[in-house]
Symmetry: C2
Subunit: 308 residues, 2 copies
């Protein structure tokens, strides 16, 4: 018994120091944690089912902007700090119910014809059309009307080649080193490789940057709430505009190539590559995977007029 | 001197224990970190300028799906595991350059007329129109064609009231307890409150859920890569469809109300509220903030034909 007590007594200070060390490290980690108001961009996305609901309240309570959960340009909520004066609004269009049904049907059908295509013709696209497509994306709503997007439009053949080189180099590393065995095995039967010839063949590349923040005129850092959701919504409008113009694209993520693309295009450190869209005419021999879309009843959950 | 050496020697074991404690805590934190393959949904978004570029490679190397960086439905990349057979693709539309310029100009102008409006008339909107709007959102591309979205459409007055109650209750807590002093002070001159009468007045609420994963027919968990970016892009298409139909909406985030809304609408735990769109006709006396959009040269960075 005596020896156990002695060992216990002798080791106690060390154990206590160890505990103090753990506590110090934990406190330090808490301080480093994104819940500090200055660190809103670090708020992690806890997304497991079990944790999400519990976390959501906590995260949002600390900072609504960090965990991209939504987007508005003039919502009632607290993000709406730059709203200013209101002016009267009148909808320009006044369609009958019949017209609305017809228009919405026609628009759906047009958009439903869109497919992600990665076989492009090298036929040039007028710059004016690309400008209108970018302007359309720029009509998107954004958190606190920060408009946190930059669209780099690459039409210069040498720069397109450079973009392709960067992406293929990174993809090669992804294939050779970064992907696990299971992943590579899954890919085998598809036969995809790291090569992306369409990146230099298509008329125009649009590289979409989200601005994680910006600076106001006084050089002060301006928070961009919901920058990723806002920029993604703007890409939805861009896809609609591309389809409307009779062109094709393929929504892609330049995996691991973001920083190099940012430097190539001379963008700011606070601008991060979100997506890359090759835009142009489809090649004559273009093919697409034989995919189908979920029917309405699989994506719409209706709580209709009938009282429950 | 002697006393300093003695103090040093005596304290050394404690200091060492303390260091061991810190190291243990750090190692433990690393183990808890999202870089473990099983924890892809926990991958934090490190978004500070200094850290992002360094992190990006690491994050993506570990798991491309965790840190939502992009989206594609049939990209060359590794997400494209469900591609299957290719079939020929031919663009339905074959516009002349002049037609393209005109169409893209017209579409831009139509979309540029969109404003986020939160003053609604209670005039009902035909269900068929809402269905077409949801179907249009469903044409969006998505990571590995997972279509990770659910659109809850609420037109029942009692359910609309319940949604409004939940959101107002949470907003009241946001205002009373969750917001800091600076934030409340910033809000004072705007005069916003937690009340959202438009939520029960508008014809239709569309609550947008992102599915963080799903289950396949065998009950196996199916990863949804880039679910948030994909769902946000679908909302961009939805906004275009709403505008095209001559209706208005206001892109909002139901802050802290997600879990309760999910339960109210009977959705699955893996479906998370991303955004909420009230949809309907604008009120006759609707107003909007006097906001303007950035001009093209502020959002487009052109690398044109001229060789550099």
């Amino acid at each position: 018994m005596g020896i156990i007590v002695n060992v216990f007594l002798y080791s106690l200070p060390y154990v206590l120091s160890l505990v103090v060390g753990i506590v110090v490290a934990e406190v330090w980690n808490k301080r480093k944690s994104p819940f500090h108001p200055e660190k809103k961009h670090l708020i992690p996305r806890k997304e497991t089912d079990d944790e999400h609901d519990l976390q959501q309240g906590k995260l949002e309570a600390c900072d609504p902007g960090g965990d991209d959960k939504g987007d508005e340009d003039d919502d009632d909520s607290a993000f709406n700090l730059h709203e200013g004066e209101h002016i009267p609004f009148r909808m320009k269009y006044n369609f009958t119910e019949k017209e609305m049904v017809e228009r919405s049907e026609r628009f759906y059908k047009e958009m439903n014809d869109r497919r992600s295509v990665r076989f492009f013709s090298d036929k040039p696209v007028p710059l004016k059309v690309i400008e209108n497509i970018v302007k359309t994306a720029g009509t998107s709503p954004s958190g606190a009307h920060t408009e946190p997007w930059t669209f780099s439009v690459v039409r210069n053949q040498a720069v397109k080649m450079k973009v392709r080189e960067i992406i293929e180099e990174e993809e090669k590393i992804n294939y050779d080193k970064r992907m696990g065995d299971k992943w590579l095995n899954d890919l085998k039967h598809i036969g995809t490789t790291y090569k992306k010839p369409y990146l230099s063949k298509c008329s125009t590349l649009i590289i979409i940057f989200k601005q994680v923040h910006s600076f106001n005129e006084d050089g002060e850092k301006k928070t961009h709430y919901y920058h990723e959701i806002s920029t993604s919504i703007s890409v939805g409008l861009m896809l609609a505009a591309i389809q409307n113009a009779g062109l094709v694209t393929c929504t892609t993520t330049p995996m691991n190539a973001g920083p190099r693309l940012r430097k190539l295009l001379g963008r700011q450190p606070y601008e991060k590559v979100l997506l890359l869209l090759p835009v142009g005419y489809a090649a004559d021999n273009a093919t697409v995977p034989d995919l189908h879309r979920k029917p309405l009843e699989k994506i719409m959950d209706l709580h209709d007029q009938i009282e429950e």
